[in-house]
Amino acid sequence: MRRVPLGLMAVVLGGGVAAFAVNRQSRPAPPLVVLVAASLRPVAEQVAAEYGEPVELRYGGSEELVAQIRLTADLAPADLFLPADASYLDACGPHAAVSPPLTTMRAVALTRRDYVPADWAALTAPGVRLGIASPQTAAVGKLTKRHLDGARWDALSARLAVTTDTVTQSANGVKLGTLDAAIVWDATARQFAPDLVGTPLPELAGVRAEVRVAVLAGSRRPAAAALLAYLTGADGRRIFAAHGFAPPDGPSP
């Protein structure tokens, strides 16, 4: 049986390890890592394109990203976290810094253009296939449930055709025609325009959420604070507004 020369194998393996080590040492500084809710991808991509420094965007559902932070903070740390709404920031532990609100979102009824509910009664009428993201997994469901008093939430729950995992899934249901209406954020509704339209209703007027960005406690990069300042500043506001996100406490664009 032919034998592979051990000396040659050692040289090849040793050379490979040495080349790998040199390569690692000579690498440029790694980019800032930002965990971004998948629904905010258009905003984040524009920020990364316009910001002067390299930025690595990791997408996922806000809950999945919270799990990533908790599981891999010391293994593959990220620098900033931009979830779909600020409530997720509480779930992922301490932060080095949290921004003021970047945008405020309001709940609306999302429907096709040919079916716009005149009022709450029309939205929750028998026969209307209504959906909302689950109060257990999404802020729009959680805050709607909190805002409506117990009896009104119970009445709404009884009329729901489905509760979805994310707010975008409800909106996709309306777009596909499997739902007649869904309670979503106004920013989500604008992503689905012009096919679908978001209608504000008095009963949903108090359902509001803020988007904030945080520098994570595990970040060792001073540049993370600079990116947070960029997002909070005029450039960040312009980019959010360009993608249909209202300024904090301002009117919808």
């Binding site: 998948a38 258009p42 990791r58 997408y59 996922g60 799990a67 593959a76 975008t168 996709n172």
Partner: protein, 259 residues
Amino acid sequence: MRVRGFHWALGLIGGGYVVLVAAMLLADLSATSPGHLLAAFRTPEIRAALALSLASSAASTVLSLAVGVPLGYLLARARFPGRGLVELLVDVPLVLPPLVVGVSLLLVMRGPFGRAVHEVIPLVYEPAGVVLAQFAVCGAFATRTLRTTFTHLSPRTEQVARTLGCTPWQAFKLVALPEASRGVLAAATLTWARAFGEFGPVLVFAGVTRNKTEVLPTTIYLELSVGDLETAMAVSLLMVAVSFAVLLALRRLAPETPA
């Protein structure tokens, strides 16, 4: 005539499923347009995701066969203490929810062994992590398929080879493996198809970073997350087209036995 009627009856029963799959494809087609398909293919990020999907699926298929062939053979031929437990363990990835596979991999990487490996080969949120996430599931598919293949092959020819002076390794390499070639190809096909469509473990373990760890299933997830159903369906159809091409090529390697 009786046989023909029997075949018609089977066709009617099984045909419902074929019609369902065809209906899903037609529905996907109706939800997008040639313009969206073209635009998807022209998007650099989606082309990068296609390239990584093809490369990672091929790599995880090779890895799966590399463990599936010896393990499948061992489980089919050898009797050893704890064999039942090994069989159960190998089947675990088949029954675990895909997201749990991803979380379990992350937990493994937090341990001392995982950290040591990650220092040498970065895996978490890295392209190599895509291969590991796919392999963690696909290895089970390959092993199960190959175990069944070796179980159905008679050990007699190997025993004859042994009496003619072959070592166990030679009997395996020169007799059992060539006899199992169709099963190996079936395992490769199944494994590749599963790896190409793998989503949950990849999402959790490798993350979704465009031009880095994004594969086509995560592209679909990203497009659905912003409500772009048309592009999501265009990417789905791209996946179907690529899968057809690869699976047809694999099938040509092992032509059907004539009836």
